[in-house]
């Protein structure tokens, strides 16, 4: 008698159970105990310091120095992006902080305060429950990195970027910096100069991971920049799901997070990359993410931005092989003091490639959400398809949303469609929900969860529950 609805109901119950968590889950810090500190500001000396500490091979040191020059030569992109970028003071940031320890393979060996941090964030617990492997980064370096033994036996590699470039140079080097060239933008250049931490993953041919790999990025120190670098290579016919989460304490001064993530899905491979971004509201989150999809391969970005002061992130897929597919599913929640500037880039570079972009943003109070989309289909191709949907929900009359779609389709052998909508939670809807007994906050939460419901289903269950929680917390006190 009780069909799927009962299961849904039970899931919903768990969701409701979970609503009353501490809003400031990530808002705590431990004293700094850094053996290595690159000091304030960025110069060639900073780059050498990082290279020395990390014992970089020469080619990496050169790569960094070249990148620094590009970073210095590029202007802030305030000609199209927000002026708030000018509030980043590069000389008041520390670019490398670490205790000099190698990442541990067992939580027992992780220093106590770092272990406490990740336990408080639930990482070891999640690892035991449903993950194939975890990397936990604390400031500039991973404190813990491990995966299930059976995966090593299958030839899966899941290590930090530093280990990747030294111990697996033959796989790492040909793709590193190729999907996202150093000069792609000012912040990809910055990352290339000072990168530290992040993951290198290689999934051998035909290996399909049943459980996700996860990375968690934790900032503990004030006036700090975190610059992790991730490269994932899925060999032919393989499949991997990678999830990342992040938190930082709320400091008075600005924190910078600028990552570069490159994905390579070879013939018939499938990569899903899931982000739940929950940085504190003093973090500038300027991230470049792009995937390369070869013949019949698929790259999916599932991206949720709830935290940060300013996020600029436009995950992209270059569909380079025939029949490749690219997808960006994105949810952004911008509260007062936040600007979520997100979007997607879909570059069709082969026949019969398909891309899909679904973006939903919610602006609360004076929060601002911006969608920037780029779809590029050149004239010489045929049979390419793109679908773009972007919906914005405004909670208050002073909330703001902007949409900048750029769809360049040349030739007449393609199919594209674009839909955009802006809506508000109407007084009438609130009255109706309140008449049924929900207070204003509960009514608003339910309306917002309803708005993004179809996208939340794309997240693994453990994440969708967390996501609904975060949204409920954000909605609390946003009305009235």
């Amino acid at each position: 008698m009780y069909n799927d609805d009962t299961a849904t109901a039970l899931l919903e119950k768990e969701t409701y159970d979970a609503i009353n968590i501490d809003r400031s889950k990530g808002d705590f810090t431990f004293p700094e105990r850094h053996k290595f500190d690159a000091g304030w500001g960025l110069s060639a000396h900073t780059v050498d310091y990082i290279s020395d500490v990390k014992k970089d091979p020469d080619w990496v040191r050169e790569f960094r120095h070249k990148a620094l020059k590009i970073f210095e030569s590029k202007p802030m992109p305030t000609n199209w992006a927000t002026e708030d970028l000018n509030n980043i003071h590069f000389d008041k940031i520390r670019y490398y902080l670490s205790d000099g320890e190698k990442p541990k393979r067992s939580w027992d060996e992780v220093p106590e305060e770092i272990l406490k941090t990740f336990e408080r964030l639930g990482i070891p617990q999640q690892e035991r429950a449903f993950l194939a492997g975890v990397e936990a980064q604390y400031d500039s370096e991973a404190a813990y990195s491990n995966m299930k033994e059976e995966l090593s036996k299958q030839g899966v590699i899941f290590v930090t970027s530093a280990e990747g470039l030294k111990e697996h140079e033959e796989i790492f080097r040909p793709y590193f910096g190729k999907v996202i060239p150093t000069g792609d933008n000012k912040f990809s250049a910055l990352n290339s100069a000072v990168f530290s931490g992040g993951s290198f993953i290689y999934i051998p041919k035909g290996v399909k991971l049943k459980q996700p790999l996860q990375a968690y990025f934790r900032i503990n120190s004030e006036s700090f920049g975190q610059f992790e670098r991730t490269l994932i290579i899925a060999d032919e016919g393989s499949e991997v799901m990678y999830m990342e989460g992040c938190t930082a304490p709320k400091f008075e001064t600005a924190t910078l997070h600028s990552a570069v993530v490159e994905l390579v899905a070879l013939k018939g491979a499938r990569i899903q990359y899931i982000t739940v971004q929950n940085w504190s509201s003093n973090v500038f989150n300027l991230v470049t993410k792009r995937g390369l999809a070869m013949e019949n391969a698929e790259v999916r970005w599932i991206d949720c931005n709830i935290g940060s002061r300013l996020t600029m992130k436009y995950p992209g897929v270059v569909m380079k092989g025939e029949g490749a597919r690219g997808e960006v599913i994105s949810i952004a929640l911008a509260n007062t003091g936040q600007h979520q500037d997100t979007g997607a880039k879909m570059i069709h570079a082969a026949d019969n490639t398909t891309s899909n972009v679904v973006s939903k943003s919610i602006s609360v109070g004076q929060g601002r959400a911006t969608y920037r989309g780029q779809v590029h289909i050149p004239k010489h191709l045929k049979g390419c398809k793109n679908n773009t949907e972007c919906d914005a929900l405004l909670i208050n009359s002073n909330s703001r949303t902007d949409t900048y779609p750029a769809i360049t389709v040349k030739g007449n052998r393609h199919a594209t469609q674009h839909e955009a909508s802006v809506s508000q939670v109407s007084e009438e809807m609130l009255f109706y929900m309140q008449q049924r007994g929900l207070d204003q906050g509960q009514a608003m939460s339910l309306a917002v969860n309803g708005f993004i419901n179809d996208l939340v289903r794309e997240f693994p269950m453990e994440y969708s529950v967390e996501l609904k929680r975060l949204i409920d917390l954000e909605m609390e006190g946003s009305v009235g």
């Binding site: 849904t8 119950k13 009255f431 049924r436 007994g437 929900l438």
Partner: protein, 251 residues
């Protein structure tokens, strides 16, 4: 035990007075009907009782079983036992009916207490069967893409599930064909109880063929101008509202 309205005046934000002194007593166990022409203030009365912010009560009182509820918010009134079946129910995109009703029930429980999901569904399905609603209905978003009849049935389902002390049904018969009307009436009649008072707001006598009221009131220009038994509804059906224009009544 009653929902008591005493000399209630209410205006729009621009100062236009809509309710001009309504006095009405709806004891538990009774069904009252308010009839009247369009623009007489019937729907406004239902919204003011529910606490809608678009109307400003300027004087008078509303008491629920002796407690003055004038200062309570919309949701507090709901949890105190007032249910309004809307003439035009709002859509809530993306929120399933089952989750919506469940959230409404949950809001009535003390903090920390949770609804038993299995018992909830058993109850929900039983009530849906009574209203001849398809099971698929639970996973559809609240009122989204519903026909007029489906929306009204959904209002009655929510009413039955929330088991309120006082039910106000605003033009529940409008937009219903005769079969749907009979099903809705079946649901309302199933809720008749010595512990519950009901107020039916309707333009037509038709609804009252299926739900027998104990008292009928006629509203005109923001006031109750006549009260009587069920026979009053029949009289109105026969003669229409023209008698309201007679100077003796209008004054």
């Amino acid at each position: 035990m009653s929902l008591h309205i005493q000399e209630l005046h209410a205006s729009l934000e621009n100062g236009t007075e809509i309710l001009k002194g309504v006095t009405l007593d709806i004891p538990a166990g009774e069904i009252h009907a308010i009839m009247g022409p369009n623009g007489s203030g019937k729907s406004t009365l239902s919204k003011v009782l529910a606490g809608h912010k678009g109307y400003i009560p300027t004087s008078g009182t509303i008491t629920l079983d002796g407690q003055d509820i004038s200062e309570l918010s919309i949701d507090q009134r709901s949890r105190a036992g007032i249910f309004l079946a809307f003439q035009y129910p709002a859509e809530v995109p993306g929120v399933s009916n089952a989750n919506f009703i469940r959230a409404a029930l949950q809001s009535r429980l003390p903090k920390g207490q949770e609804i038993d999901a299995v018992a909830y569904y058993k109850n929900l399905y039983a009530k849906m069967d009574l209203l001849e609603m398809d099971r698929k209905f639970t996973s559809r978003a609240v009122n989204e893409g519903f026909s007029g009849g489906e929306k009204k049935r959904n209002e009655i389902l929510q009413m039955i599930m929330l088991d309120p002390k006082y039910c106000i049904l605003d033009e529940t018969d409008s937009g219903l064909d005769i079969d749907a009307l009979k099903i809705v009436a079946k649901g309302v009649n199933a809720m008749r109880s010595a512990n519950r008072g009901m107020l039916l707001i309707t333009h037509y006598q038709r609804l009252l063929d299926y739900i027998k009221p104990d008292h009928v009131h006629v509203m005109s220009d923001g006031r109750i101008v006549r009260s009587g038994g069920p026979e009053l509804a029949l009289e109105l059906e026969e003669k229409g509202y023209d008698f309201l224009k007679e100077p003796a009544l209008a004054s």
